[in-house]
Amino acid sequence: MERIFDILKKPAVYYSLLIAVLAVVGGAAWAVYETQIPPEQPIDFPHNIHVGLQIQCLYCHPGAWKQASAGLPTQDKCWACHQQLTKYWDPENPVPLNQWPPELQKLAAYVENDEPIPWVPVAIVPDHVHFKHRPHIAAGVACQDCHGDMSSVTVAENPQLMNMGWCITCHQQKTVDDPVKREKLISCETCHY
């Protein structure tokens, strides 16, 4: 045992160990940070404009009030509105496609080619978590409580780390007066199965 401590006292060993520890911790921190960078989307979708136009979240993510998954809009949903915008489709004075904003040109291309838009979900949980939107919406949780204020971002990003501590904290806060409900909301098998 003594000898091990002696070895540790050598500066070379000491520093290399320190560097190794720092590398591991730094790597982990970097990995966590990495998960928080919003992924690149096929279209730089401006949430702020759409929310600013008073479009309800559920219009484009209708699964949230009925299903586990909120869903990402399909191109026909986008196109249903965008093909009516008089700004570009004014019969008197249509704007040629190549003069549209570049992101809308991308959408038009997906529609033209009849290809699905490969959206990348941003607010995700690991595979061993079974998150359901419906009960949250039914319990009166507003979209922005978890997803942040979408009127201030363009491409979706996560306002916070979506980890278990965050889930449980909220579940506990909301069920202070209801022990039965609390039991259910902090029980393992409610989310992990």
Binding site: P62, G63, K66, Q67, A68, S69, A70, G71, L72, T74, Q75, D76, K77, Y110, V111, D114, E115, P116
Partner: protein, 714 residues
């Protein structure tokens, strides 16, 4: 209208991915109803992450159970039973559950290919079929189909008629093992019409099962299992009594109140003796049993006379007694006589057309004749014609004859003599890999179709099949291929495609009253046909047979056995694998119910016999018959007659994908070609030798794992 409905239904099938889209856009008429858009236009009522359920029909055997398949975003996830279908009322067997492993099997044939494995496009493929149909004389063409699906059998029948070719033969190993043709022939002789007979287990008080292994796989296992459960616990305070005669302890024997391991081939004699004793007990004189020698029968079966007398009292005292003839007893040289003898007990019990008795299976709503499987005698004729070069083109669908027809019939050698062999198999089975062309059909869950019931439901039933997912690969419905080919050589049939054909067949049901659903016209009816998974009557349509069988003397001659070994070979169809389940990995991993062996073949030997032979568990022995030999590991089975050894059928594939190939052995390789009076193979009358090899090959069994407790001896 129909297009609209189909669009609505099938838009959901289209997958999200571009890959799916590519597959879809590559399809021609086969996918006319399958919309080509992926989820770029998602239907309003579909959400990401929500399941959609489609009703269809199981194709793992020919029983025609209704399924409801859970799908999500164009993928099939889980097979569940269709609770409306009167055959299975929401239940399924293990084979049905594993149907998805056929759909998603990694060894599926993905494109039309020729013998060299070169891929071709469907246009060329249809050209090949057209050329083949046009090139040869009608009687040089043969169609060989499986027991399922029925719509294709009907279509092949019409095609054959149009071309003047012989009617298609249908065959499946299950049909052979159950000796269905013999039962049909016995029904014809006794009741005036061939029929697959319905045995009302649920209503029976006392059931004598002569080798009818209805809890393993016999005609319609799910329906008969339900009947069994009702017989046992269906009526409070009553519990039906089951007596089972079979050389080995099968699942059915395990569930029986009394099991008698009688000698193979003695079932008919035993039935006659029981008939005579029952009649005596009831104080009746029955002409049918006049000349019966009870003593000789008891000796043949290996039972005491006192036992027979006791059983006769049990049978005679019951108001609802039932006797069921199973497969193996009928697949003996005396099988037809045995069938009649066993069925005569029902006439004696007065249960013909009575609750708890024997009924005629309801006629199907569509093409209502009895379409029994081909007998081995009929197959032998086909093989002969093939071998002599008389058959120049063979079309194979839904059956794997090289594997399923016992080797002794020489199908394999005869196949080489056929100029053009076209297989429509979905998997590279033994027949397909030797065919000149493989034009893969969709698997059952991607297909349209309908299936008549083998037996099992009291209602006149047609189970309907629809694709639950878009075709996964570049496969095409065989019906569409045939129709397109016929059109190309100027002999078109009056159907645009497969769906049009099926619609034309069920059109008469639209206005039929008393059905589960009705509609004013075909398009609405068609939508309902898909929604409910078929059409059936609300009322029971069982036929009541009548018979004068008791008025004439009955006789069963002693069984003749092929081979001169010391041991009877008892071959049964693996209850888990069936005839075609070997390529599904989870079926391989489901333990055999009686031996708990997985992934292999075994031979069951009584421990006493093994002791005298000096054999232990897992010793490899060679089983030799005059017609072949197989090497297989020994399983000491504590509940089998000492003079009988047993092997399951289902493994021993030389092809058929990675999970089946080179695994286990095929006991049918030992069979000879002798047939019974009805033309069915007398495979059960076979005596074999056991030779030691000195090798050992461990069997994987579940029981070795749980052996740590409750495991004392065996």
């Amino acid at each position: 209208m129909s297009e609209n409905i189909s669009r609505r239904d099938f838009i959901k099938l289209a997958g999200v991915t571009a890959a799916t889209a590519a597959v879809l856009t590559g399809c021609g008429p086969a996918s006319r109803y399958v919309v080509r858009e992926p989820y770029t236009k998602m239907p309003e009522y579909t959400y990401n992450g929500q399941s959609t359920y489609y009703a269809t029909t199981c194709r793992e055997c020919a029983a025609g159970c209704g399924l409801v398949v859970r799908t999500m975003q164009g993928r099939a996830l889980k097979v569940e039973g269709n609770k409306y279908n009167p055959t299975n009322l929401g239940k399924t067997c293990a084979r049905g559950q594993a149907a998805l492993q056929g759909l998603y099997n990694p060894d599926r044939i993905q494109n039309p290919v020729n013998q060299k494995g070169e891929e071709m496009d469907w246009d060329t493929a249809i050209g090949v079929v057209a050329e083949t149909l046009g090139k040869y004389q009608p009687d040089e063409i043969a169609f060989l189909t499986g027991l399922a699906p029925d719509h294709l059998f009907d279509l092949f029948g019409e095609v054959a008629k149009t071309f003047g070719a012989p009617a298609p033969l249908r065959y499946g190993a299950l049909g052979m093992f159950e000796a269905r043709a013999t039962l049909g022939e016995a029904a014809r002789a006794l009741f005036g019409q061939p029929n697959n007979l319905f045995f009302d287990l649920a209503g029976a008080e006392v059931t004598f099962s002569f080798g009818a292994n209805f809890l393993e796989t016999w005609v319609s296992p799910v329906a008969y299992t339900r009947g069994f459960a009702k017989m046992r616990q269906g009526t409070p305070g009553k519990r039906g009594y089951l007596v089972h005669f079979e050389p080995r302890l099968s699942q059915t024997a395990i569930k029986a109140d009394e099991w008698f391991a009688i000698k193979p081939g003695s079932e008919g004699l035993l039935a006659l003796a029981l008939g005579k004793l029952t009649a005596e007990h009831q104080g009746k004189v029955i002409a049918a049993y006049e000349g019966v020698d009870v003593e000789a029968a008891a000796e043949a079966a290996g039972l005491e006379i006192s036992t027979l007398e006791r059983l006769a009292r049990i049978f005679g005292n019951s108001r609802h007694a039932l006797a069921i003839p199973g497969g193996a007893p009928l697949a003996q040289s005396n099988g037809l006589d045995s069938a009649k003898a066993i069925l005569s007990l029902n006439a004696l019990a007065g249960n013909l057309g009575q609750p708890g008795g024997v009924f005629l299976t309801p006629a199907a709503p569509v093409n209502d004749g009895y379409h029994r499987p081909a007998t081995v005698r009929e197959l032998a004729l086909l093989v002969e014609k093939m071998a002599s070069g008389q058959i120049k083109a063979l079309f194979v669908h839904g059956v794997n004859p090289v594997f399923e027809i016992p080797a002794a019939l020489g199908f394999s050698a005869a196949l080489d003599k056929v100029e053009t062999v076209i297989s429509f198999a979905s998997f590279p089975d033994e027949t397909a890999v030797r065919a000149d062309y493989i034009f893969p059909d969709h698997t059952g869950l991607e297909s349209w179709g309908y299936q008549r019931l083998a037996s099992g439901a009291k209602e006149s039933t047609l189970s309907g099949a629809q694709p639950v997912v878009a075709p996964f690969y570049n496969t095409r419905a065989t019906a569409d291929v045939i129709l397109a080919a016929a059109e190309r050589i100027g002999k078109p049939l009056p159907y645009k495609d497969e769906v049009a054909f099926i619609q034309s067949k069920i059109e008469s049901l639209v206005t039929t009253e008393g059905g589960f659903h009705a509609a004013p016209e075909i398009n609405t009816f068609w939508a309902q046909f898909q929604q409910f998974g078929g059409w059936w009557t609300n009322d029971e349509k069982l036929g009541s047979p009548t018979s004068a069988v008791l008025d004439r003397p009955l006789a069963v001659r002693p069984a003749e056995y092929q081979g001169n070994g010391e041991y009877h070979l008892f071959t049964y169809v693996s209850p888990i694998l069936g005839e075609a389940g070997a390529n599904k990995p989870w079926l391989q991993e489901v333990p055999d119910p009686t031996t708990t062996v997985m992934w292999n073949t075994w031979v069951e030997i009584n421990p006493k016999t093994a002791e005298t032979l000096g054999l232990h568990d897992d010793d490899v022995v060679r089983i030799v018959s005059p017609f072949g030999a197989v090497e297989v590991s020994v399983y000491l089975y504590p509940a089998i007659r000492p003079d009988v050894i047993a092997m399951p059928f289902g493994q021993g594939h030389a092809a058929y994908g990675r999970y089946a190939e080179g695994r286990g052995v095929n006991p049918a390789d030992l069979f000879g070609g002798a047939v019974n009076d009805a033309g069915d193979l007398a495979y059960a009358g076979l005596k074999v030798k056991i030779e030691k090899t000195g090798q050992k090959k461990q069997l994987s069994r579940l029981e070795s794992r749980i052996g740590v407790y409750g495991y004392e001896e065996h």
